[in-house]
């Protein structure tokens, strides 16, 4: 009895999650897709390192951290662009995107230097 209640709850939970997420705006969903892509690339790199070994370590580190870095920056962009966030309502989305580009530039400059 309890088990079916929990499974029913879990089903309801996933259903509500899916419906709530489908209601988010399109541009936020694009950013979410980008984040997912970056994390997936990072995981692929970690799996590759587990198979092949970690030499040269600086290349591995810069590869993984560049993926994680772009994911983090994309999350920050999503936070700033999301209209539901009261704290950022006077921030024009163009400014948020410009900051995002600048931070990415710095990140990738460092990555290119560290890649070896």
């Amino acid at each position: 009895m309890g088990k079916s209640a929990t499974t029913r709850d879990v089903h309801a939970l996933f259903h509500s999650l899916r419906s709530a997420y489908a209601a988010t705006a399109n541009h936020l969903k694009i950013i979410d897709l980008y984040i997912f892509f970056a994390i997936a690339t990072a995981l692929i790199q970690v799996a590759y390192m587990a198979i092949v070994g970690s030499f040269p370590f600086n290349s591995f580190l810069s590869g993984v951290l560049s993926c994680v870095g772009t994911a983090v920056l994309a999350v920050s962009l999503r936070i700033q662009v999301n209209k539901d966030n009261k704290e950022f309502k006077d921030l024009p989305p163009e400014r948020a995107f410009a900051d995002f580009v600048l931070c990415n530039l710095v990140l990738h400059l460092v990555i290119m230097n560290f890649l070896g």
Partner: protein, 771 residues
């Protein structure tokens, strides 16, 4: 009309305030620069101490050969025969900064020498540091607190001690980088702008380049983030302030060769990764909470908690196993000695022997931060009303820096900015209340009529309270005003919470209080100027003393190094205790065996063993290292207390730590260290004793040592394997040359000598790791 006029007057007041702030900041910068010039005025424009000479030599190399040669420099004139990879073991921030400054100045045709730029780098950056303090405190409390904190930092003796003109050391630039990084972090936290987050990462990179103390930043910021999360202050701005910093900061830290992969592999950085994971989990939780209904969220929580706990424990177990497998749990020796203050004295005598690494005494707190020591608690209270993210950071900063300054006296330097910020906040809040009271009493009745009605009720309440405060004023007016400050701040806070309006005090109290607080500031200024002029301006390479017949100048060190550079071959090796290594390579330009970097304990122990052994054994060790000259510092003739005989026990301990035949009790008589007639024979025969006191009896006939205050034990002896080549004017530095071995050994002693040499060869094989 009235509104327009008030807005115009508001604009004027604003503009006037801005101009005034700018002027005050400029004056603060000038003061920070000038107060550090006492050493240049009293002595000369010379580089101080020991470590700055190494930085100076590296900067010289940088300006001569360019950045790429500096980055790849392998120095073979130190740690002979090992050499030292300068590019990979030095924090390049300071040298690159000074080199860039020199380059820029020369390109605009201001031909300053490298030495001048090096000497004055520290005062210039202390001016920048006080401006950075203004910016940081402005983010925490406001412009008034900012100006006060900047003024306090410009003068605080603890910072002056490490940044006088001539003290060309990492801290000169690093403290500026520290405060500036904290400012950018708080600014990002307050505004939530990714632009400032980028700048924060770049400033953190500059800090990593400059000083090993950057681990303080990368542990304090995660601690603060964790504090904010735990106290329920999580916000998207916190995420933007922290997450990009971790990723970019780790990458940038790994770029600096001296840090390299330590940025991801040592325990000093693990806190940042842990909090990185935690903040992502928290962000996800808040996001899901935002898009779900409350019942659904409860279901999600129970589900996740049950599944996630198992995963979490598994990951944690793996991590703990990884970390516990290394003997020091992944921490470096210096960091461990910070967390466990007794660690260094048990395991790493070299770290324990440095005087800067000892815990401070109570008087040193009052010497170094003076009045701020008891303004800090008032500042902490002021930070709590109201508590914001920025002020919680300031409180965390002061608490951690007080702990670390209690462990190591050198870290009083990290306490200084925190103390200045807190005291600035406290003083500014106090002045706020007093001047508001004065203004209310003098002008309040003619201005806003609405406020008057409210104030009337307040005034009656105040009369009751003012009687109490007047009594307390009468009781304590003779004492320091700090208690009054605290009382006044606490009383307004209580009443303001009840009434939610501004409190005013009676006129006489306020005027008296303002006067007393200004007097307090005056005492602080007098102390700071005295400390800068008398206590912290000595260059250590030139000593002075006053006697009845005027001022004596002891320039023996430079005399000795100049002699070395003019009278020896370029490739001659000089052995001395590691304190003098940097100065010897920089000023005498000779190869040394060990220097202040102290990275190789065995090598230092070899030199220590040689200095503790009898003459022949010492000669063998030095000969195996190709040493030509031995340099000792001796203060017995003039009373210079930091000479090698006083440091000798550390040589014994460090040598004995690696070569067990050197035992410390052999050099002590009844547990006491003596060099007079009661000294042990091992002591009287060791090389250090002989090199220090050779021919000493010729100075005054009795051999009276002015530092140890006794006559020496062995007065007339000859040196068989060393010859004295130079002694400076006040006998402070003595240089000896190794005598070459005899060409032939006289017949009668040949057999016994060969037997002796056989046994000595066997024992030297044990002593000499190089043969």
């Amino acid at each position: 009309m009235a509104a327009q006029e008030t807005s115009q007057s508001a604009i004027f007041r604003h503009a006037f305030g801005n101009v005034l702030s700018f002027t005050v900041l400029l004056l603060i910068g000038v003061m920070a620069f000038s107060i550090r010039l006492f050493s240049v005025i009293k002595y000369e424009s010379v580089i101080h101490e020991f470590d700055p000479y190494f930085n100076y030599r590296v900067t010289q190399f940088l300006t001569k050969s360019g950045v790429y040669d500096f980055w790849n420099w392998f120095d073979d004139r130190t740690w002979y025969p090992l050499g030292r990879v300068i590019g990979g073991t030095v924090y390049p921030g300071l040298t690159l900064t000074a080199g860039t400054l020199w380059r820029i100045l020369n390109s605009i045709n201001i031909p300053l020498s490298v030495e001048t730029v090096c000497v004055f780098t520290a005062p210039v950056f202390s001016a920048f540091a006080s401006w950075a303090t203004y910016l940081l405190t402005k983010e925490i409390k406001g412009a008034g607190a900012g100006l006060t904190a900047a003024a306090l930092l410009a003068m605080v003796p603890s910072y002056i001690s490490r940044s006088v003109a001539g003290s060309y050391d990492n801290e000169a630039v690093a403290i500026f980088a520290l405060i500036f990084t904290f400012y950018l972090y708080i600014k990002t936290l307050n505004t939530g702008s990714l632009f400032y987050a980028t700048l924060n990462a770049i400033a953190y990179f500059y800090m990593v380049c400059s000083w090993g103390g950057y681990t303080f930043i990368i542990n304090l910021i995660p601690m603060h983030v964790l504090l904010c999360i735990v106290t329920g202050r999580y916000s998207p701005r916190l995420y933007i302030a922290y997450a990009p910093l971790v990723v970019l900061g780790t990458l940038l830290a790994a770029l600096v060769p001296v840090v390299g992969f330590n940025a991801v592999m040592t325990s000093e950085h693990f806190a940042s990764f842990l909090v990185f994971i935690i903040i992502h989990v928290v962000a996800l939780v808040y996001y899901i909470k935002g898009i779900l209904t409350p019942q659904m969220f409860k279901v999600a929580v129970t589900l996740v908690v049950s599944v996630g706990m198992v995963l979490c424990f598994a990951v944690l177990a793996v991590l703990i196993a990884l970390v516990a497998s290394s003997p020091t749990k992944g921490w470096s020796g210096r960091s461990l000695s910070l967390l466990d203050p007794t660690y260094a004295s048990k395991y790493i005598p070299i770290i324990a022997s440095v005087s800067e690494h000892q815990p401070p005494t109570w008087p040193s707190y009052f010497m170094d931060i003076n009045v701020l020591a008891f303004l800090v608690p008032a500042g902490i209270i002021a930070c709590f009303l109201p508590l914001s993210d920025a002020s919680s950071f300031a409180v965390l900063y002061i608490v951690t820096s007080v702990y670390f300054s209690g462990v190591m006296v050198r870290l009083m330097l990290v306490l200084a900015p925190a103390a200045c910020i807190m005291s600035g906040i406290a003083l500014s809040e106090a002045f706020d209340v007093f001047t508001r009271s004065i203004k209310f009493h003098l002008v309040g009745t003619t201005q806003n009529p609405q406020e008057n009605a409210g104030d009337a009720t307040k005034v009656t309440q105040n009369d009751v309270k003012s009687e109490k405060s007047e009594d307390t004023v009468k009781e304590r007016s003779s004492r320091k005003s700090k208690k009054k400050d605290k009382e006044n701040i606490e009383k307004p806070s209580l009443v303001s919470r009840v009434e939610k309006r501004l409190l005013v005090l009676p006129l006489e109290t306020s005027v008296m209080a303002v006067f007393l607080v200004v007097l307090l500031g005056a005492f602080y200024v007098v102390h700071c100027v005295w400390a800068a002029a008398e206590a912290y301006s000595a260059p250590s390479i030139v000593l002075t003393s006053r006697s009845h017949d005027g001022l004596h100048v002891f320039d023996d060190f430079r005399e000795a190094y100049a002699w070395l550079s003019h009278n020896t071959e370029v490739d001659d090796k000089v052995a001395s205790w590691w304190d003098y290594g940097y100065q010897t390579t920089a000023m005498a330009n000779r190869t040394v065996i060990v220097d202040n970097n102290t990275w190789n304990n065995t090598h230092i122990a070899t030199v220590g063993t040689a200095l503790s052994s009898p003459e022949k054994a010492a000669w063998d060790i030095f000969n195996s290292l190709d040493v030509k000259y031995v340099l000792v510092v001796f203060g017995g003739l003039v009373g210079y207390p930091s000479d090698d005989i006083n440091k000798f026990l550390w040589m014994v301990r460090i040598g004995g730590g690696v070569f067990p035949h050197i035992k410390e009790p052999d050099y002590l008589r009844d547990g006491q260290y003596r060099i007079d007639s009661q000294a042990t024979p091992t002591m009287l025969n060791c090389l250090m004793y002989k090199l220090s006191y050779y021919r000493f009896v010729e100075t005054d006939g009795r051999g009276y040592d002015k530092v140890r205050n006794t006559e020496i034990g062995k007065k007339h002896f000859k040196l068989n394997h060393f010859e004295e080549v130079f002694t400076t004017h006040h006998w402070m530095v003595r240089i000896y040359k190794l005598k070459s071995p005899r060409n032939r050994i006289r017949g009668k002693t040949k057999r016994s000598k060969s037997q002796k040499s056989g046994t000595s060869k066997r024992s030297t094989r044990k002593k000499n790791p190089w043969q």
